[in-house]
Symmetry: C2
Subunit: 644 residues, 2 copies
């Protein structure tokens, strides 16, 4: 993860302004700043500014991050682009180059269905909060506050005296305003966030929407408090629920908390891929039906996985339950990281779990977003609808915020990565090769006086683990997963479990070692998941694996990945390959090559079990982490493999 963050800092983020210049985003801001009429708007979408804001947010987090090397030119680029935004903002506080250039005479906030005005404003606010929080500088926050005040003066419930009682067709403003409240302490912003959360589902967008798009697409189908399942456009849904969770956290609203807990549980249990990816449908970029999780046609937009990470983290903070960080880790390491190439300069928009033999590099329905086609695992440098690349950048740059939480008792460590963590009266140094190795060594560098609880998340995938303090097993360890007196654990399940808690008076130099057993394992899906029925997947630690066609030399000519049947009775083996894919642990498995069908061939259905026993010779399969797929050209791939 550190490696991927370093690439983000050294390649992805520094390249951002070039891409934004090429795509016209920065020129739009300059044109808006000139405030001359007749300037053309560049780019295909009214939310082009949001790409700039998301890049700025990424750059801001990066500027505040000591753990990875920041590009030396970055501070100047940030200042320059903040300057562009300041120049473009009008006296009323409004700032959106699309509406300023393309629709100068149209009243503000009237094109709410497709205009993305509040969505774009939300990303500006997020960037400003990041910039202020990470660098202490106030220039961008001033711009955002001015815009937020304009929005606050414009939107509100009937009877509030504010003129507009409607929502934006793309959520984002909700969580942005909650963050702005946290950064400024200004309660108005939280109240406005709460208003927007509850203004969804009243159909206020209804009459403007065309009949092909359901209200669910715009998240205007049902109030959040009443919704039974995640639905509609997945990124819109998850941004909204992240905002709802922020509001529930800050206000203590129990009803809203119950709603987001219910919806998250529905998403996790019925609508989430093994990779953490969400949003099954290419059509409308939407959640599918429950358990509708096709592998080849998985949409799994990179942005939806990012939104899931953001929401899960907010749920973890709201509830303290480890399951949220369990899913966060899985989604981050599999469903998000696959979205950017190892080199940091090429992206995937949709992230299928299966590319069929002979059908790599086909047109995908996601192709309309890209330079050329982005289906089938062909990574591209930027997209016409470029939401994903800067979203990956901002998430990777902000990851230190997702590692730990604190409370009055001490520090909770949610994620494991090399680095330092401080808070809750403790400062720790973390040394680990996780997720390649399961050993996580924590050294206390500073500790406040008195008893403090250090809580370590035992990941839900961990079947066995040991823990010791200063070389002594079990000392002061209390784990909901029934740590034995020796500090050795085995999963016993239970929804409240997951934290290993160590309470003691800490001193600098204390060392805690958590060792998670990392044996590769075979996973199956709930049988309601049609697309994975009769299959197994390979996992190791938090990583989901896949097989890529190019890694299977034992497969004879004319046979492909889709001819394989995984032998689940044969063992798995893990091996570190330092030169492969920037260093990965591969997992090898045994498969049989399926005999070709003996039927007449024109019809793919036949008598049950007629072909049984036709399974052929054994071959060794080599699996690589899913996040690293499609980094060596296009080709067949699969996560779920039919099994015997």
């Amino acid at each position: 993860l550190g490696q991927r963050r370093a690439v983000n800092a050294s390649v992805s983020i520094p390249q951002g302004p070039e891409r934004l210049e090429e795509a016209g985003n920065l020129e739009n801001l300059r044109a808006a700043a000139r405030k001359e009429s007749g300037e053309a708007f560049r780019g295909g979408y009214p939310f082009q500014d949001s790409d700039v804001h998301k890049w700025l947010e990424a750059a801001a987090w990066q500027l505040g991050d000591d753990s990875t090397a920041t590009d030396p030119g970055l501070p100047d680029r940030v200042q320059e682009i903040v300057g562009l935004l300041r120049g473009a903002q009008d006296d009323a506080g409004y700032l959106n180059s699309y509406f300023m250039l393309a629709k100068p005479d149209q009243p503000r906030f009237t094109e709410l269905v497709w205009g993305h005005e509040l969505y774009t404003a939300g990303h500006l606010i997020q960037a400003a909060v990041a910039h202020h929080r990470a660098t202490g500088r106030g220039e961008l926050l001033d711009i955002a506050v001015k815009f937020a005040d304009l929005i606050d003066a414009s939107f509100g419930p009937e009877g509030s005296g504010k003129p507009i009682d409607r929502i934006d067709g793309h959520p984002e403003i909700e969580t942005a305003l909650a963050e702005l409240y946290r950064e400024t302490g200004e309660r108005r912003y939280l109240d406005l966030a709460g208003y927007f959360v509850d203004a969804h589902g009243r159909g206020t967008l209804g009459s403007d929407t065309n009949h092909h798009m359901r209200l669910g697409y715009f998240q205007d189908h049902a109030p959040v408090r009443e919704a039974k399942a995640v639905t509609g456009h997945s990124v819109r849904q998850l941004y909204l629920l992240a905002g709802a969770t922020d509001v529930a956290t800050e206000t203590g609203d129990a009803e809203l908390r119950a709603a987001v807990e219910r919806l998250w549980a529905e998403m996790a249990a019925r609508q989430t891929y093994l990779t953490g990816g969400v949003g099954a449908h290419h059509s409308d970029e939407a959640f599918g039906h429950p358990y509708e999780l096709p592998n080849e046609r998985a949409y799994c937009e990179t942005c939806a996985a990012i939104a899931s990470v953001q929401w899960s983290w907010r749920m973890a903070l709201l509830t303290g339950d480890t399951r949220y960080s369990d899913l966060l880790e899985r989604t981050l390491l599999n469903g998000v990281l696959c979205g950017v190439s190892l080199g940091g300069d090429r992206y995937l928009y949709d992230n299928p779990l299966h590319v069929r033999d002979g059908f790599a590099d086909q047109e995908g329905a996601g192709g309309s977003h890209g330079e050329g086609d982005d289906g089938g695992g062909r990574r591209v440098g930027w997209f016409r609808c470029a939401c994903c690349p800067p979203n990956v950048m901002r998430l990777l740059a902000s990851l230190p915020s997702y590692v730990a939480s604190t409370d009055a008792d001490g520090l909770q460590l949610h994620q494991y990565a090399e680095g330092t963590v401080a808070g809750g009266g403790l400062a720790l140094e973390v040394a680990t090769r996780y997720p390649w190795e399961g050993r996580i060594a924590l050294t206390v560098r500073e500790a406040s006086a008195g008893e403090r609880t250090l809580s370590l998340r035992i990941p839900h995938w961990a079947r066995e683990w040991t823990a010791d303090v200063n070389g002594q097993a079990g000392a002061g360890i209390d784990g909901a997963r029934s740590a034995s007196p020796e500090g050795r654990g085995r999963e016993t399940g239970g929804r409240d479990g997951g934290w290993l808690r160590i309470t003691r008076e800490w001193a600098a130099g204390d060392e805690v070692v958590l060792d998670l057993a990392m044996a590769p394992r075979l996973t199956e899906a709930d049988p309601r998941v049609d697309a994975a029925r009769g299959c197994a997947a390979i996992e190791r630690g938090p990583l989901v694996y896949c097989v890529e066609a190019g890694d299977q030399p034992e497969l004879g000519d004319g046979y492909g990945l889709d001819d394989l049947v995984l032998d689940v009775a044969a063992g798995l083996a893990a091996e570190w390959r330092p030169k492969l894919l920037d260093g990965v642990c591969v997992v090898t498995a045994t498969a049989r090559v399926r005999g070709r069908s003996g039927n007449a061939g024109w019809w793919p259905y036949g008598d049950v079990d007629a072909a049984s026993g036709e399974v052929g010779e054994a071959v060794t399969l080599t699996a690589v982490p899913y996040y690293a797929w499609a980094n060596r050209g296009v080709g067949a791939m699969r996560v779920w493999i039919p099994r015997v």
Copy 2:
């Protein structure tokens, strides 16, 4: 089948004019006939006239059919509507109320991408051919010929002197012109059909198409002769290929024949549901990727199944191979008949193979076609886009044309249904309760002098059969499926098989009895079909069965169809139920109720085989023919059932 055709004749067809009146289609024609400016066009689609034409075609076939009772008012309704068309046609021969009313000043044939001008004309021509062929009357044919001559004068290749060298965005004109050639003997129409077939795939529609729609949607992605697989909008694709097959048949063009044989084989082997349904994607109503055949989200538009039947029949005539009639039978009895209610007055637009527990009657993506929503098995009376209902009517009314073919040697019987068949020097009476029973008794009523070959299709699903002539087994029988001397057969496979040929000098009173063993059977899918992997389906004879939730009283409270595991080792039993669903043979099977998962519940993936052995008590499942589903309210249903 006879029963369904009788309902078509007594309910569906007579109701057609009422529906067309309510929807405004007939008023559009009256308004066009008035030739006054400022008349409004009614209905949402430029191809509204085609619903009228398809109904007329249905009514015309019905008028020529002695085997079912025709509504006494039908001849007058047909004459009245033919009169409306005559009144609306302009002096140049043009006839399309949408363009005449809504775009009177726009030059003809300029809105080819979405206008459906030639598509609508094609349906007019089909109706006219049917009317002339079935009734001998020429009024409608005169109208169609006048319009066809206008099209022939307008469209042609570069250098032909005709002004327009482009195609329509929706094929249909091709097969219509081929049929018009057959009816009139006018070679120009066949040449024009051939021109249109080969004009596809040159991208002539390209610049008008919006970027969300691929050229494949409009069948302009590749020349038919070069295409490797069926793709794009399924109805458009299949209408085009039906036309290409007509042209190949009439011209003897070997290259075109090879192309349609290849494309049909691709469709059958990789893109067809067990029911014969095709077109997996709701999005763009398109074919999916090979083997992408999701059950719950199957689109399987009724019109696509109808188009498949029409194409397969043309392939059967072109090649003489039984596989085409095998698929035709399967598609007709399962994928088409499900599209109309047993009562003949309510329809399905999309035909899924699975409705999940708790998710019947949900919004489906097909909902935009209907009155309310038509996903999840809720049948409706008519659709805003009403292509399917009159298409069902015309197919059912024209079915006698799909039963038999003739050649110099004699008569080939492709489909089995009660009735009379004549041609190839033989006239037969067919007595059978097929598909409920396998016994088919043929009595020769008339026979020409000399040897004649009577060829009987042994359906590809038939595992055992016997045949005798005048009570004598094996007399003169020659079957590619290795009929034994006793006239008993067992399938041996082979692509040239399928015909049982009996050559002799026939005399009136000769009787042939073919008896196909009708034991219910369990079927599995090619393992590449993700959605059916690990499942079995129940079939009996040509019928695909499904389980509906309401038929399973043994299933305990709180358990649903999706909790069942079919015990494939237990037997199946068939039972005739005269009062159920207008009389059906049900099949009973044994299933186990799956134990509820022991995992923590928030995550649907777990260790492989961890839940094995949790399969619970046995219950008897009752399956009904798929064509009859959704006739008793909405509820869960499945064709493919997970198996042990």
